[in-house]
């Protein structure tokens, strides 16, 4: 039904020194495991910096049977976390998550799903970006580096999920953890600022969904067979939106 989620080709990782360093770090970590105490001086330095690693691939599992049509808790949670003003003009405001209501033409069956950046393994937005600002992190999170984004919006056109927004106006009162500004494109970051600093943190949308007692969004490591998300996918299954595009998305839906 779906392509493997486990292979993370990592074709667009930062070049050169980054990879070499990653390899060096991993090697040193292994040394550490083998009990090479002599290397502890270097290890300290290494442990102080935990970089995103291709050992992991972060993803979301969305159980559509638990997601209800009237509820937008995930959207509100996301807006709150990133200081997104939902009251702005609906044509130009930023939307990191959209709640979509679907009706099956044949059966009349209705479902409601949140759609955000699908964190594709082969991301079209990354392919078309002229500056390299649209990129995929080693752990599969697709991001915009707003420092190098020139606001050309090619990525917005390339994205099959309409997941990205352009900021048209000057913003004020941004959150310290979520810098955002005029002239750049943005989209769901899987809350990297939360998940990087603490392995037990969940993206804001998943937290809000759980707080609302729906628990329709499960976040976790697709590469780890013992993670909640992998177990869910293994037992109940999950499909990709537009699986025909073979993008190997990091966001999977159950019951679509």
């Amino acid at each position: 039904m779906t392509t493997s989620v486990n292979n993370n080709s990592g074709g667009d990782q930062p070049q050169g020194s980054g990879n070499a360093q990653l390899a060096r770090r991993r090697f040193l970590q292994k040394l550490g495991l083998m009990g090479a105490v002599a290397a502890s001086y270097t290890l300290l330095e290494v442990q102080a910096k935990t970089a995103a690693s291709s050992d992991k691939r972060w993803g979301l599992f969305i159980d559509t049977s638990k997601c209800s049509s009237g509820c937008d808790a995930c959207v509100r949670g996301c807006n709150e976390e990133h200081g997104i003003d939902a009251g702005k003009d609906e044509h130009t405001r930023a939307q990191w998550i959209r709640k979509i209501d679907l009706t099956d033409n044949l059966t009349g069956a209705e479902s409601s799903v949140p759609v955000m950046c699908q964190h594709c393994d082969s991301a079209p937005c990354v392919d078309v970006c002229p500056t390299g600002a649209s990129f995929k992190r080693a752990d599969g999170v697709v991001l915009v580096n707003k420092h190098t984004c020139i606001g050309c919006r090619y990525c917005m056109m390339a994205c099959p999920y309409k997941a990205r927004s352009f900021i048209h106006e000057n913003l004020t009162d941004q959150k310290p953890s979520a810098p955002r500004g005029k002239g750049t494109v943005e989209s769901c970051t899987l809350c990297v600022h939360r998940i990087d600093s603490d392995q037990n943190q969940q993206p804001a949308c998943a937290v809000s969904c759980t707080d609302e007692a729906h628990s329709a969004i499960v976040f976790g490591d697709l590469n780890d067979p013992d993670s909640d998300i992998s177990k869910k996918l293994k037992t109940v299954g999950g499909s990709q939106i537009r699986a025909d595009l073979s993008l190997n998305t990091g966001v999977r839906y159950h019951g679509l």
Partner: protein, 164 residues
């Protein structure tokens, strides 16, 4: 001969003072003191000269590699260096006469960082983050600074590569 030289030595500085009227009382920019901490995240000398490259380096490390809690985080600069007004409310660090602005206006530098980044400190993290995970100069060795210098070269190379 020597009299002429002495005269010249006297006249030259005097003439300089005449043609550069502001020079005599220019003591540099008035930079507000840090609100928190006894020392900066690296030696003050290094910070004055190198903060832009340290910030750029940190920027790439955090955004591209996902490395967090590092000393040269822009959020941390604001946490320590943003001042409070008389009512105890924080003032934007890029406001007139404030930390980043005072020095930059003097040096005719303009930065766009605070069109996106918060110019006010984090609400309650200031003291906490300082005590828990902000490495300061003493833990930030010269060796690490050297490593950063070499990264700087590597980063530049990779940026040049991307532009092609």
């Amino acid at each position: 001969m020597s009299l002429r030289l002495n005269l010249a030595l006297l006249i030259l500085p005097a003439a300089l003072l005449l043609v550069m009227p502001g020079y005599a009382d220019d003591n540099g920019p008035v930079i507000p003191p840090a609100t928190y901490g006894d020392q900066c995240v690296a030696d003050t000398d290094i910070m004055r000269k190198e903060h832009m490259s340290l910030l750029n380096h940190q920027r790439d490390e955090t955004v591209i590699e996902g490395i967090r809690g590092e000393p040269f985080s822009l959020v941390s600069c604001v946490n320590c260096h943003a001042q409070n007004d008389n009512g105890g409310q924080p003032i934007r660090i890029d406001a007139k006469g404030q930390f980043c602005e005072s020095c930059h206006t003097y040096a005719a530098v303009k930065i766009d960082c605070f069109t996106c980044h918060a110019a006010l400190p984090e609400e309650n993290a200031v003291i906490g983050s300082l005590q828990n995970n902000l490495p300061v100069a003493s833990t930030y060795s010269n060796k690490q600074l050297l490593v950063m210098q070499s990264h700087k070269v590597a980063h530049k190379a990779s940026h040049d590569y991307q532009r092609k």
